[in-house]
């Protein structure tokens, strides 16, 4: 029943064209300067989905790869693009353990091998209040979990990012308690939306975006989508994720996109879509980032202001 497009990105938008998009936008913004724009307004969004893909226009490759939060390479948005080049992603292995039937250190080829690599145009909402639309390539995490065999006592999945201060300059400072840790409840991990991304725009995942393997959980704030994964554990206890550990009043375990539960320091009711230019109106933030049809059932009966 899953919809799968026959079209590849390279057929829809040639690489030169999407790289060029910003210059065109810039020119358009320049001519639009004189047009009167009402200052106070919020853009209503009307999202429809084609299979798993949002109908919205994806951000350009340049935007997606030059505006990143990857504190392992520095706290500035351009730091990851500047500093991630030195990261060694080959060889790469992932240690899979805990409550699984086949624990072990898996070579990246064995992690990716035998999976259906899908193309998914997902909405991406950062906890800071900006958003993008990103065409990922990857496989559903449930395929990897099936491969290693989840034991009945497992309730959560815990992920860990590479810790390598030699190549990750941000890790030389205690900005966060390295290595970066994230977690999902098992049903969240099994959800068909939950992707292990290996690429974007049909190309290998750029290092600043979490090469060679990262999680993508589109209905949660971006920091849940942990990058450059080296360790996956199935656990019975809820793992403590890094941002919750850093500040439990501000960041929870679930971190579902929710316009009605504000961050203690800023509102989450609206977001700035990257690429809209300086005069673009903010747009409304959607419950579960628009993915309610897939995920709302998992949280039925839960107080989402308490389990934020």
């Amino acid at each position: 029943m899953r919809f799968k497009s026959e079209l590849k990105y390279s057929e829809v938008t040639p690489r030169a064209a999407y790289l060029n998009r910003r210059q065109i936008m810039a020119a358009a913004a320049g001519t639009g300067l004189l047009a009167a724009t009402p200052a106070f307004a919020q853009e209503k969004v009307d999202v429809s989905f084609n299979g798993f893909d949002t109908s919205e226009k994806p951000n350009s490759f340049e935007e997606i790869t030059n505006y990143n939060n990857f504190y392992e390479f520095g706290t500035g948005k351009e730091d990851p693009a500047a500093n991630a080049g030195q990261l060694t992603t080959d060889p790469w292995s992932v240690e899979i353990g805990g409550l699984v039937d086949k624990p072990g250190t898996y070579d990246l080829a064995d992690v990716i091998g035998g999976k259906d690599i899908d193309e998914r145009i997902y909405r991406f909402r950062c906890v800071e209040g900006w958003s993008m639309v990103i065409p990922w390539n990857g496989f559903e995490l449930n395929q990897l979990l099936a491969q290693v065999g989840v034991q009945p006592s497992a309730k959560y999945v815990r992920f860990e990012t590479l810790y390598r201060p030699d190549e990750m300059p941000g890790q030389r400072r205690a900005i966060l308690d390295w290595p970066y840790v994230e977690g999902l409840r098992l049903d969240e991990a099994m959800n068909p939306l939950t992707l292990m991304a290996t690429g974007l725009y049909g190309e290998d995942l750029p290092k600043q975006n979490g090469a060679p393997l990262r999680l993508v959980v589109p209905w949660k704030y971006g920091f849940k989508s942990i990058k450059s994964i080296v360790k996956i554990d199935l656990t019975a206890e809820e793992p403590v994720n890094t941002w919750k550990d850093a500040n439990f009043r501000e960041y929870g375990f679930y971190s579902n996109v929710n316009p009605t539960v504000n961050h203690p320091r800023w509102s989450q009711a609206q977001e700035r879509r990257i690429g809209g230019g300086v005069f673009a109106k903010p747009q409304e933030t959607l419950m579960f980032n628009g993915y309610g049809d897939w995920v709302a059932d998992m949280y039925a009966g839960m107080d989402l202001t308490k389990f934020f």
Partner: protein, 226 residues
């Protein structure tokens, strides 16, 4: 061994030349050189710089997220200029370099940049009256930033010769508010970022250090007069 460009050698030779006039202190030479430099070009720079930033934001050369870049850059410049304004007095006390002629311009430019920062937030970033009002009462970093701005308003309005004359010694009392305003501005920066980032903490430490020099100077003055 004589290294190339070894200026210390030359200076020694000059100093030891018989009948050489006694050398003026560096600070006095800087002061007399500055006497020919007026303050008005600072105001022109303060108009050109934000216009240039805005031009870059509109044409798409100010990074991927031009609104945030504009908001953060002009806010940070405001904080930097305000800190520079507060450094004028300690600089004179400790080094003798006298920049007092530029202090009014610096203070007004700092206020101007913060005013622009506020406007970027209102009209380009949030753009939503109910959210702005909610932020103003609920969000500590917004409240702190707004209080800092509010403290700067009377200072900007009285940064003219007429006000100095009219207010007399109250002018100095009023303008002491520049210290709490800058401390709050730096605090606003520290608490708006995620986690404990280095840059805002460095600015906060600098502001506290400048404040400390003023407190110790005052104490010393009290002790001497008492």
């Amino acid at each position: 061994m004589v290294r190339p460009f070894d200026v210390s050698l030359d200076l020694k030779a000059i100093a030891m030349t018989p009948n050489a006039p006694p050398r003026e202190p560096v600070s006095r030479r800087i002061n007399s050189a500055l006497r020919k430099v007026p303050a008005w070009p600072l105001y022109i720079l303060a108009l050109i710089y934000p216009a240039w930033l805005f031009y870059q934001a509109v044409t798409g050369t100010l990074g991927i997220d031009p609104v945030k870049e504009l908001e953060h850059t002009i806010g940070l410049r405001g904080l930097q200029v305000l800190i520079a304004t507060l450094c004028v007095t300690p600089l004179r006390k400790y080094t003798g370099v006298n920049l007092i002629r530029y202090r009014r311009a610096l203070g007004l430019i700092g206020f101007w940049f913060i005013f622009l920062h506020l406007n970027v937030w209102l009209f380009l970033d949030v753009r939503n009256v109910s959210l702005i009002l909610a932020d103003l009462v609920k969000r500590p970093y917004i409240i702190i930033g707004m209080v800092a701005f509010a403290l700067l308003v009377p200072l900007a309005l009285t940064s003219n010769t007429l006000s100095i004359r009219k207010l007399g010694r109250n002018w100095r009392r009023l303008h002491w508010l520049a210290y709490p305003a800058t401390v709050l501005g730096a605090l606003h920066f520290v608490i708006l970022v995620k986690g404990w980032q280095v840059e805002p903490l460095v600015y906060f430490a600098i502001v506290l250090a400048v404040l400390a020099t003023r407190i110790s100077i005052k104490r010393l003055a009290l002790r001497r007069s008492g």
